[in-house]
């Protein structure tokens, strides 16, 4: 069985919001649109988005670290938002595991959004139906695009390639390898929702420096250091002469 998903690399996400705007641009004009914007230049701009980037500060000054955190529907394998829907509008596709809302069936009761622990769904105040990330199902199979562009808009737009897309059930896919080898994890695993989307953690490249790396034990210079009494020991270099 296929389960398409995103894997988001928090180590390289710079919080530029390119995925947010490209998601909105693609989807507002695609089959999932329009996505409303109210007072975009006013005091309290608001609107419908399928994807948001949040920012967290971890630690206390001066030992702080900034984490940019993109958040969209995780296309959970045990999606709690699906069985609660009274109309069947909220559904999970068998063929690729994408969780979608059928706008023509939705009655706008918002019950599914109560059942999603991640707050991944947003009610469209103008169209009066529930909306969420579609995993760009109208791009990824679109024969009008060249093969290389049959990917979600947010994945294509990310300047640091922080977003990977693929089948997490195929053990050899890029996303599965990334999850396996780079410590991919799920959000709030304690709820048992089995999110298909995974996140790759922040990683630091540290070098462990030992004292021996800095001071050579048998340093020949120490033999010739006229400021101190020189050693009578034989050094490695004496053998080489």
């Amino acid at each position: 069985m296929t389960q398409l998903a995103l894997v988001i690399d928090l180590n390289v996400c710079v919080g530029c919001h390119a995925c947010v705007t490209s998601c909105k641009e693609w989807n507002t004009s695609g089959v999932s649109g329009p996505m409303f914007d109210d007072a975009p230049y006013g005091k309290d701009p608001t609107g419908t988005f399928f994807n948001r980037v949040q920012t967290y500060e971890i630690g206390c000054f001066p030992n702080t670290e900034t984490l940019h955190f993109p958040k969209s529907c995780l296309h959970c394998e045990e999606a709690p938002c699906v069985p609660v829907c009274p109309t069947g509008a909220s559904h999970k596709r068998d063929q690729d595991g994408i969780v979608l809302v059928d706008y023509d069936k939705c009655i706008g009761c918002k019950y599914c959004s109560w059942a999603c622990p991640y707050g991944a769904r947003e009610f469209d105040e103008h169209q009066k139906v529930m909306k969420k990330c579609t995993l760009c199902y109208d791009r990824i199979y679109n024969q009008d695009f060249p093969e290389s562009e049959r990917k979600p808009a947010c994945v294509l737009s990310c300047p640091t390639s922080a977003r990977l897309f693929g089948d997490v059930h195929d053990p050899e896919s890029d996303v599965s390898v990334a999850i396996r080898e780079r410590g991919g994890y799920q959000l709030m695993p304690e709820w048992g929702t089995k999110p298909a989307n995974h996140y790759l953690p922040r990683r630091k490249t540290r070098k462990q420096i030992h004292a021996e790396d800095l001071v050579r034990v048998d340093n020949p210079l120490s033999k010739e250091d006229i400021r101190r009494e020189t050693s009578k020991d034989i050094t490695l270099d004496d053998w080489l002469m």
């Binding site: 309290d44 988005f49 609660v84 009761c109 709820w191």
Partner: protein, 321 residues
């Protein structure tokens, strides 16, 4: 959660209607075994059931405004009955009109006095079926909330019990006031039952208040973003002017406001009606009507608090609201 007035009115109004029907049918079944004096079919049973039905119709009317657009009631709401296998909301959407239809039938049988001279009057059979439907509806309404395991305040059998007892209490209080007009010899019976159910409701609602005050969240900031650190501070929520996430899941009121609503409903829904019922059980119409009015308003506060108190785990991602 943000308390929606459509749902507050829906759940309280159908609760009154369901409780009132149970009260009327209790009267009929007690009379069938000669524990209570029988009443006139149309003036008491049919009229009382019609009052119950009126409350349920009002509740249904309120529910229409919970839909995205009221027009969905005509065009799409029928789809809501299709997912009864998995969705408690779908089950409620089935049980509500079904119960209303049965209540209506029961009233019609009484109004025309059909089969009332038979050994087993059809109204008793119909009433028993309707009673089962009323409890089924209570169960569906309560389970809509009690089945959401992420919302810890609701995920508890007390949620369902409270819906049954609070609906029953307001219905029996209304029945006490109604019988003061139509059947004075039943006033004490209904008033005493109303007091018993109200007191029971106070116990279970109080128990859920105590439970919720000690509740421990399961999800944490650490598991929400997957970072192991004791100090995580949100700097940006991804938007400036708010979104559905900041509107739907927060009540935007102060802690003090919430606390005062709690005391208001404890007084209005429980203490005051208990006192008024005790004073009015002799048949004082004004006191009994006041008891119902006060209790209903108290239940509006109670329902508001029920929603506002629920803390959704998605709020972990919205710390700077």
């Amino acid at each position: 959660m943000h308390p929606a007035f459509s749902v507050i009115f829906l759940t309280t109004l159908i609760g009154v209607g369901q409780g009132m029907f149970l009260a009327v049918f209790t009267g009929e079944s007690y009379a069938a075994v000669h524990l209570l004096p029988g009443q006139d079919s149309s003036a008491f049973y049919a009229l009382g059931t019609a009052v119950a039905l009126a409350f349920m119709v009002l509740g249904l009317f309120a529910a229409v405004f919970h839909l995205g657009k009221p027009s969905y009631f005509i065009t799409r709401a029928w789809r809501g009955i299709t997912q009864w296998r998995t969705s408690w909301l779908s089950r409620e959407l089935i049980m509500l009109p079904l119960t209303m239809f049965l209540v209506f039938l029961y009233a019609v049988f009484h109004y025309f006095g059909w089969g009332k001279d038979l050994a087993v009057p059809p109204t008793l059979v119909l009433g028993s079926i309707t009673t089962a439907a009323v409890f089924g509806l209570f169960l569906a309404t309560g389970m809509i909330y009690a089945s959401l395991k992420f919302i810890r305040e609701w995920y508890c059998s007390l949620t369902v019990i409270n819906y049954v007892l609070l609906g029953g209490a307001s219905g029996f209080t209304l029945a006490a006031a109604f019988s003061a007009y139509q059947a004075p010899e039943l006033v004490t019976f209904y008033a005493i039952w109303a007091m018993i159910i109200t007191a029971a409701g106070l116990v279970t609602r109080g128990a859920s208040l105590i439970r919720n005050a000690r509740i421990k969240p399961i999800a944490t900031m650490q598991s929400a973003i997957g970072v192991r650190h004791t100090h995580i501070q949100q700097k940006s929520m991804g938007m400036m002017g708010g979104s559905y996430n900041t509107r739907e899941y927060f009540h935007h009121k102060t802690r003090a406001f919430l606390k005062s609503v709690k005391w208001i409903f404890l007084v209005l829904a429980f203490a005051a009606p208990l006192a008024l019922l005790a004073l009015g059980q002799g048949g004082n119409v004004e006191l009994l009507l006041a008891a119902f009015g006060v209790q209903y308003v108290g239940l509006l506060f109670e329902r508001w608090f029920f929603f506002a108190q629920a803390n959704h785990p998605q709020n972990l991602y919205y710390q700077t609201v």
